[in-house]
Amino acid sequence: MNFICNFPFFSILLSLFSGTICSVLPAKAAKVVNRVVIIVIGLMSAVLLLYLLSTGESFIYWMGHFPAPWGNEIRAGVLEAGMALFFCIIMYLSMAGGAHKLPGEVVESKHNLYYILVNLLLSSLLALVYTNDMFTAYVFVEINTISACGLIMIRQVGRTIEAAVRYMIMSLLGSGLLLFGLCIMYDLTGHLLMSNIKESVGLLIANGEYQIPLIVSVALMCIGLCIKSALFPFHAWLPDAYGYSTVSSAAILSSLVSKGYIFLLIKIIYRVIGFDIFNSTRIIDVLFVFGLMGMIFGSLSAIKENDIRRMIAFSSVAQIGYIYMGFGMGTQAGMVASIFHILSHAATKSLLFIAAIGLTDVSGGSHKFIDLTGAAYRNKWAGAAFTVGSLSMVGIPLFSGFISKLLFAQAAVQVEGKMLASLIVLGISTVLNAVYFMKTVIRIYAYAPDAPYKGITFRDMKAYAVVLVCFILLNVILGVSSQPIVDMIGQGLAMFA
């Protein structure tokens, strides 16, 4: 076996281990460890991605001495490696972009705990991405949940703790359903490894056995993951959690945590149940409807909001709706669009959170729109970045948001029954997005000469500005040269089968 094949395993273990190490390090050292680990894992994922692209085949990696149905496994294909690389990039940029705010948000003595949480979150995301075993996935889902909860409430104001409670309650409902579905699935197939379950499910379907429990199990798992990823009716915790936690946390939570669950759902759809079998159930229709509702209601709530960070948070609800709408179409093209939207939303949403903090910083720390008037003049970089993010969200060509909308529309055109609904809702949602994002952009560029706040120059925020530029570049790259990425996603999905 090629040495590169060890990289997924190394990256999971490295991030787990670095979490443990951070617990005994002082804050400064923990920060360095955190950064280095993210970079190293990112590099490994990049090498792995190149390797997989060159070989064109996925591989299975034994976790232990025993082969498939007995031992534990992880599996790496193009999509997994790409996701891991992307998660690392976003996480690094989010951490770097929020670093200057951290001392004000978290007590000094708890900084190293913060880095532990981030490392463990990364490891759980990686494990969710790479795992080939359902029960392992469950365990790491729990790590993900708890560390996300930690990230929410590490800034200890009343709102975050309340949000953390709500988040935990919702997440635990979700995990409960997920685990129950998992148990039923185990009962029916006798396996926990994804590939073996898929074989057995194929047999069961072919023989016509246990149809009802099978569907129920799939439905329970889906609902569980939907709840955890804050699909529309389950989003009550989200605005508080994203709106008041630390900057980096908000960026990471919105762009990565829910995406980890969604990626797991994709794996379940492809690797556990089988894409065709999944599409023949009614579950996709439910996902489709809730996705559409999320797109509209998320945007409507965002319009009513007068706090910039909560507004961005509500916009996440809408964007997650897009992703589920893509699942609901039940075609390969819809899935590709959803996965691309995972990337594009992650890049845009973290950009928006990071940029928003730059704007609120020069407005006396207030998140209210009224105080943000003219903030873009006081912090030009953040203003420009926020504008780019908004344009991307609205779906202006050249930015990533346009491509994902294009992909969604192309996918929708191919599905006869759902075409009109999805296109119309896509349109309404685009316009609603425009309402609140352009409103904000105009607000921050409105001239307010008598605002009592001081501006900030490039010299005072070099690292921050660099992060913003990186984010903008990422967005534009996704928007301009999307084809290789879309090809890669297609290749990765082909490897899933």
Binding site: Y377, R378, K380, L391, V394, I396, P397, L398, I403, L406, A409, Q410, A412, V413, L423, G427, T430, V431, A434, V435, M438, K439, I442, Y445, A446, Y447, P449, D450, G455, V480, S481, S482, Q483, V486
Partner: protein, 494 residues
């Protein structure tokens, strides 16, 4: 290739440079150096104009890059594009020079000039766009870059107007995008054709009915930008609040993007496919309703700029009507009217701007005797008005002549006669809402207090652009042949 590219990129970069270099100072910083800013903007306008004129003679198209698979960003100069670009290259610099004087009484000039140049560049790109996706890209960017011009003065009213403009345009653009998705599926490529249509024959036979719906949605969507009937409301809101030169550009150039888009859509579907269908009928109805309603609304509107805005609504639908008739003669009329209306409306708005700048009067009834105070401006206003009404030998006459001729020859039942009738009625209304201004301006009546009159003629920087535009509007009426040849080439797809 480089000419086209530089005519697009140069103004955009120059605009961005102005935005960054001369940004509005924060409190405590030293104010913007107006002279260098003006000089910079003026030079950029002239250089861009030279680039564009040079680019008009470019032959070959080129692909810049691929946005996604089989979605190239592709530029090409064709006859239709040349005409629109010609309009832009005359009107935008003229209004720009006008604004050097006009903007003295507004704030944030750098922002204004920056976005002004952006609009210039983006509009050039729109004219030179060689396929639908490129066109859509710059269509959206045009909305985005022209919105700051609308909400320039930053009052609550202006911001609301800007947002209204934005949302109407976005809704329209999305409806158009909706159609693009289907075209993408049913066409071989999205590259523009003029008359043949790019639809696959199999697509027409299979989903013909559905494609008609798509065509209608696209026409409606792009029609928003051109102020077609159900979605015209943004125009009268946006114009009065924008600075006068900006409304001149908005009304003369930017709304023409909608017309250009309509021509492109017609080309994509092919006139053969749409002729005689319900789409044509519905579209004709809408345009005629708009023509009539716009004139009527303008007739009872007391605020001058708003009156001109309603007039734009009405006049643009003349153009759309000509397109909807779908024959060569009416097409020629439409394109002529694009030019004529562009010059005339720009001149009218600039006159209105000059009046506001010198006297601060916005309502029509306040303007009695204005002709005595500002004779040059008002003479230009009068000549331009005559052009808009369609009195020979102005440009408006020629274009309306072709429109009516095309309609009468079209053989569409009912509309072939109804069209010209409504055009005539509307022309009468136009006379009704524009001429009183000149009449009262020059002949304020016996009871007028002549003693209070004073010379208020604005400086050369303002009167020159107005005169040039007025002159041009007459010129195309007197010598229309050269342009008709170009347009004929465009109409037949060469």
């Amino acid at each position: 290739m480089y000419l086209i590219l530089s005519s697009i990129l140069f103004p955009i970069l120059a605009g961005l440079f102005l935005l960054v270099r001369y940004r509005t100072p924060l409190s405590g910083e030293k104010p913007v150096d107006r002279q260098s800013l003006t000089a910079m903007a003026g030079c950029s306008l002239i250089i861009t104009a030279i680039f564009v004129i040079a680019a008009l003679f470019a032959e070959k198209g080129f692909t810049l890059f691929y946005l996604a698979q089989s979605l190239p960003i592709y530029f090409r100069v064709d006859s239709v594009g040349r005409i629109f670009s010609l309009l832009a290259v005359i009107v935008i610099p003229c209004a720009g020079f006008f604004s050097f004087e006009y903007m003295k009484h507004e704030e944030h000039e750098s922002r204004y000039y920056g976005f002004y140049l952006l609009v210039f560049g983006v509009f050039n790109a729109l004219c030179f766009a060689g396929n639908l996706i490129t066109f859509y890209l710059f269509f959206e960017l045009l909305t985005m870059s022209s919105m700051p011009l609308v909400l320039h003065n930053g009052s609550k009213e202006a911001v609301m107007a800007g947002l209204k403009y934005l949302f109407y345009s976005l809704c329209g653009a999305y409806a158009a995008l909706f159609g693009i998705y289907f075209l993408y599926r049913n066409c071989g490529s999205l590259t523009f054709t003029v008359v043949d249509g790019a639809l696959r024959a199999s697509a027409i036979t299979e989903h013909g009915g559905f494609l008609l719906v798509v065509a209608f949605v696209m026409l409606l969507g792009f029609g928003v930008k051109a102020g077609m009937f159900p979605m015209h409301a943004w125009l009268p809101t946006a114009h009065p609040v924008a600075p006068a030169p900006a409304s001149a550009v908005l009304s003369a150039v930017i709304v023409k993007a909608g017309v250009l888009a309509t021509i492109r859509v017609l080309g994509m579907f092919g006139t053969d496919f749409l002729k005689g269908t319900w789409v044509q009928t519905a579209w004709l109805c809408l345009t005629l309703v708009t023509v009539f309603m716009g004139s009527l609304l303008a007739y009872r509107e007391p605020v001058l700029k708003k009156r001109l805005a309603y007039s734009t609504v009405s006049q643009l639908s003349y153009i759309l009507f000509g397109l909807a008739v779908m024959n060569d003669t009416s097409f020629t009329g439409s394109l002529l009217h694009v030019l004529a209306h562009g010059f005339i409306k720009a001149a009218l708005f600039l006159c209105a701007g000059a009046i506001i700048y010198r006297t601060g009067k916005t309502r029509v009834e306040e303007m009695r005797g204005i002709g005595k105070e500002m004779p040059v401006t008002m003479w230009c206003f009068t000549i331009a008005s005559l052009g808009l009404i369609g009195i020979p030998p102005t440009g408006g006459f020629i274009s309306k002549w072709f429109l009516a001729l095309g309609s009468l020859n079209s053989g569409i039942p009912v509309f072939d006669v109804l069209g010209p009738v409504i055009l005539l009625v509307s022309a009468l209304l136009t006379a009704g809402y524009l001429l009183p201004l000149s009449i009262h301006g020059f002949f304020p009546g016996a009871d007028y207090d002549y003693g209070s009159l004073q010379k208020r003629e604005p400086c050369k920087l303002m009167t020159m652009p107005i005169s040039i535009l007025t002159f041009l509007s007459v010129l195309i009426g007197v010598f229309p042949f050269l342009i008709i040849v170009v347009i004929y080439l465009a109409a037949t797809g060469r």
